[in-house]
């Protein structure tokens, strides 16, 4: 009888420990994600200001940038969002490269500050993304190993998507010989 009770107590303890461990990992992933999300939102908030300032110099590029930023709302998977984010980064870089041709734009105090802020946001997204992907990798491994996988199934925890463009979606660059 006593042995039976002890076994039950040990089992319950194991279940509690497993449960808490998985919950903690899940929360950590969500926090890591919100860090990326905050920076993406911040960038989306800053871009209209940039478009406003650069309108007179690079109307077409500003227009394209606005469209790419707005396309963000249609992304419904992590991979799409990552793809959109990369696209925005690319268009931003184009715009900044173009601004090199306009000395009076480069001297504009508002533009200068926006450039610092946006370049900083790009760095933050890159760092936050690495942090998130590391966290997700940790989580995905944890829910797959025994006995966590049984627990994860009961808790309906699923594998999480990385914040990166999936390999098969990347455009294949043809090399002509």
């Amino acid at each position: 009888m006593v042995v039976f009770l002890i076994i039950i107590v040990i089992l319950v303890a194991i279940i509690i420990i497993l449960y808490n461990h998985l919950v903690k990992l899940n929360i950590r992933c969500n926090n890591a994600w919100s860090q990326i999300d905050n920076q993406l939102k911040r960038r989306a908030d800053l871009i209209p200001n940039l478009v406003e300032v650069t309108k007179g110099y690079a109307a077409y590029e500003s227009q394209v940038l606005t469209e790419v930023v707005n396309a963000r709302n249609q992304a419904n998977s992590m991979s799409d969002m990552a793809k959109n984010s990369e696209e925005v980064s690319e268009k931003l870089n184009n715009l900044f490269a173009l601004s090199e041709n306009y000395p009076d734009l480069k001297a504009n105090e508002v533009f200068k500050n926006l450039q610092i802020e946006l370049t900083g946001t790009e760095d933050k997204i890159a760092f936050a993304r690495q942090f998130y992907n590391d966290t997700v990798q940790h989580y995905n491994t944890a829910i797959m190993v025994f006995p966590n996988n049984i627990m994860a199934k009961l808790m309906k925890y699923k594998e999480k998507e990385y914040f990166k463009v999936q390999e098969d979606e990347k455009e294949v660059v043809e090399v002509k010989l």
Binding site: Q35, N113, I116, E117, T119, G120, D123, K124, F127, A128, Q130, F131
Partner: protein, 292 residues
């Protein structure tokens, strides 16, 4: 590796606080014994003053260090690039955002202080902001963030304030010794004062040395290595250290705080010796280049 260092640093802080607690208690005890001629009163005064000083240095040492070096807050409006760089490095290091200060001087230097990552301060000189580009600046900031992450700031900051406190007490005591010797006719009390005074005059430099040993030069190497991990770029820090070595000039800082800075603020160039607070910059650059 880092976790082990954090634990060791917390232990070291405990040890330093305990040593100074005993030290200050004894000192005040003897002074009060001489003044009031009552063991219990003397013990009570001694214990309470040292308890207060330990408490104050734990909670306020960062503010004291900032104010004796004349630092002022670096607002986002005035120093945008500096703030943005620090924010992104904090995301990389997984640290809360420390308070940011600047010191108005042409010298190139930086330091971090505080008691834990939640109450940390990073301070850079305005000369540094003028001379370094974005990547170099991020290398320096990442170095300071690693001091915060490893809890180096707690050890160094607390020991600086406590050593400072002891030297002030010893100073007051030495003066008391000189004046007291002239007018005091009670030979027994004079002798006690003389002996205690001598002990403190001898112990103060030892306390200062203890501080320098506690903040070993290896902390700088370790912080350089973790800085590369945080900034994901070693070229920035290497080129920043080179500038700090070649274009630097001595700056006006309080001598007690010299060990806090990224490079020694008082001397221009330095070779590794038993008593130096910082490893030579040339050696640091060599070690950085060997990473990976």
């Amino acid at each position: 590796m880092i976790l082990r260092d954090v634990r060791r640093n917390k232990l070291k802080t405990g040890l330093i606080i305990t040593i100074f607690f005993v030290f200050i208690t004894l000192l005040i005890y003897f002074v009060s014994l001489f003044l009031f001629d009552n063991i219990y009163l003397a013990a009570a005064i001694g214990l309470s003053i040292s308890a207060i000083s330990a408490f104050v240095s734990y909670y306020n040492s960062d503010k004291m260090i900032l104010s004796i070096n004349g630092a002022r807050p670096a607002t986002r409006e005035e120093f945008l690039q500096l703030n943005v760089s620090l924010e992104s490095l904090c995301i990389s290091a997984g640290l809360p955002l420390p308070k940011l200060y600047v010191m108005e001087t042409d010298a190139l230097n930086a330091f971090a202080t505080g008691r834990n990552p939640e109450h940390a301060v990073v301070c850079v000189t305005t000369g540094l902001l003028k001379k370094l580009n974005k990547y170099e600046l991020e290398g320096v900031l990442a170095h300071e963030l690693s001091h915060i992450k490893n809890y180096d700031i707690l050890v160094s900051t607390i020991s600086i304030v406590m050593v400072g406190f002891v030297s002030i007490l010893a100073d007051v005591f030495t003066h008391g010794l000189i004046w007291g010797g002239n007018r005091d006719e009670d030979s027994r009390a004079s002798i006690i004062l003389l002996v205690v005074g001598l002990v403190f005059i001898i112990l103060s430099p030892i306390a200062a040395t203890l501080l320098k040993l506690a903040i070993s030069r290896n902390r700088e190497y370790l912080a350089d290595a973790s800085a590369v991990e945080i900034a994901r770029n070693k070229e920035g820090l290497i080129s920043a250290l080179t500038k700090l070595e070649t274009e630097n000039r001595p700056m006006n800082v309080n001598k007690a705080t010299e060990s806090l800075f990224i490079v020694n603020p008082l001397k221009g160039k330095e070779k590794d010796s038993l008593w130096s607070t910082h490893p030579s910059t040339v050696n640091r650059i060599k070690r950085l280049q060997n990473i990976q």
